[in-house]
Every structure is written in C-alpha cells, then in structure tokens.
Assembly symmetry: C2
Homo-oligomer: 155 residues x 2
C-alpha cells in the first residue's frame, strides 16, 4: 500500500467513525429539540422562524436557498405560520413580485421562548465538556459548516 492509499484508508476509517456518530447525534438531537418545543412549533418551523428573526427582509426564495429546499415547501410552511399569526407577509412596493417575511409580535415572543428552551437544553449537554474541548470542537465544525454551505465537496 503506497502513501496515498494509506492516507485514503485512514480517511475512510475516520469518515466511517464520523458517520456512525453523525446519524445518531442528528436524529436524537432533532427529536429532543423537537420534543422541547413541540407544543409551539415543529423543528423545521423553528428553523424558519429563527432565520426570519435574524435576517431583515427575508423572502421565500432566500429561505429556499438557505435551507436547500424548493420554494413550494417554503410557501407551505410560511402559510401555516401566517395562519397561526406568527409570521407576516409584506409585499414590496417597488418590486411587487417580492414578498418580505417578518415575525409578528406573537412570533417574536414565541421565538424568544423556544430559543431559550433549546439553548438551555444544549447548555446542559455542553456542561459535560471543558471550554477547550468545546472550542476545539466548534472551530472545525464551523469550518465544515462553511464548506458544506458553499456546497463544494471538491478539493
């Protein structure tokens, strides 16, 4: 086995290790976060609300892009949240094709409440780690998130 193959082999092993943890973590954490806020919203709805709360003048196209889903999915989610008085649609006066999304007063209160619950839950998990562990964990995590966000798996 030459040097290149050995390096690839090690990499694949790490990837397999990562995958095993990844699937468990993702599924369970989503379920747990979902349970935490289930009386208020689904996890998908929370993420949409979070995006709108932290991005001024968000639109459906922007959301579809940010979450890598089709626009019709966003329309469905937004419509449910509008029906529940959590989100408002505002048409742009200059370009009347565009619809801006914002939280209602009720939406802002709900968001703040859910965010608090989720942060509390994750904080207790984080309490099992030293600050150094968390830091050395989050930095590559953010780097990976950035790479994946750019959707560029190639070198």
């Amino acid at each position: 086995m030459n040097e290149m193959n050995e390096k690839n082999y090690e990499l694949r092993q790490l990837v397999e290790r990562y995958m095993a943890a990844y699937f468990v973590l993702f599924k369970k954490l989503n379920v747990q976060i979902g349970e935490m806020i289930q009386d208020e919203a689904t996890l998908d709805q929370y993420q949409i609300i979070d995006y709108i709360a932290t991005h001024e003048n968000g639109t459906s196209t922007e959301l579809a892009d940010a979450f890598s889903v089709g626009k019709s999915s966003i329309t469905a989610i937004i419509t449910r949240l509008v029906d529940r008085g959590i989100i408002e649609r505002t048409r742009d006066v200059q370009d009347r094709r565009v619809v801006y999304l914002s939280l209602t007063e009720r939406g802002r209160m709900l968001y703040s409440k859910m965010q608090g619950s989720i942060i509390d839950m994750l904080s207790t998990y984080m309490g099992h780690f030293t600050k150094e562990e968390i830091d050395s964990f989050i930095k590559p995590f953010e780097k990976l998130a950035k790479l994946v966000e750019e959707g560029n798996p190639g070198i």
Copy 2:
C-alpha cells in the same frame, strides 16, 4: 457578574455559536447526502438500511428505539422497502410475535453502493482538514453523540 454567571454566559455564547453552525450543517449535509442517493432511497431509508445491515436480527421495536420514533413509523418505512425487494421480514419461530429484519441480496448491493457514494462525498469534505483537526473534532463529537443517545441532558 460573579464567577458562576460569567461561566454560564460564556457557555451560552458557545451554544449560540454552535447552533448557528449546527442547523446549517445538518440541513445542507442531509440535503446533499439525500441528493447523492436519491435514485435509490431517501436518507431516512438509507439510515434504516444501514442499521439493519450492521445489526444482526434487528426488529421494529429496536429500530423505533434506536431512531427515537414510533413503531408505526418503522412499519411504514419497512413496508415500503419490503415492497421494493430491499428488506425481508422473518418471523421468529420461538416467539411468534417477533419479526426479524434483514437485507435481501438486492438490498445488500444497494446498501454497498449508497454507502460508497456517501463515504466518497464525506471524504472529500474531510480532505479539507488535517488528521489532527479531524481527530480533535470527532472525539468530542462521539462523546456528545453518546450523551445525546443516553438522552440525558442533565448534569
């Protein structure tokens, strides 16, 4: 601000940093993995297949527990995969309530193909990191996965 509050404040900041990356990473990565295997199966189906491939004599109850979903959800997924000739149900002879799940020959081929694609994709992402980075990333990740799996957010 006393020492305890300061520690909590730092922790919350880290959690907020983590959450921002977490949501983007998992959503995008799931979409990208989903796209990678979309002609063969959904990501949820892949995870079920992966579990069955790596766990001898798996059952619906075991899967429901492993993925933190209800048994009726598992029945639905399994039924679709049985219809497509990917999974087989075998009733236990001793305890006739129990149904064991296993991959068909076709299922094993499909699994191997999908696993290859996913590992290849993740490997290219991993190529952006040094071995030390990956290691210091995976270790706390595995620890977190274990904590979450035990479903114990408390200290």
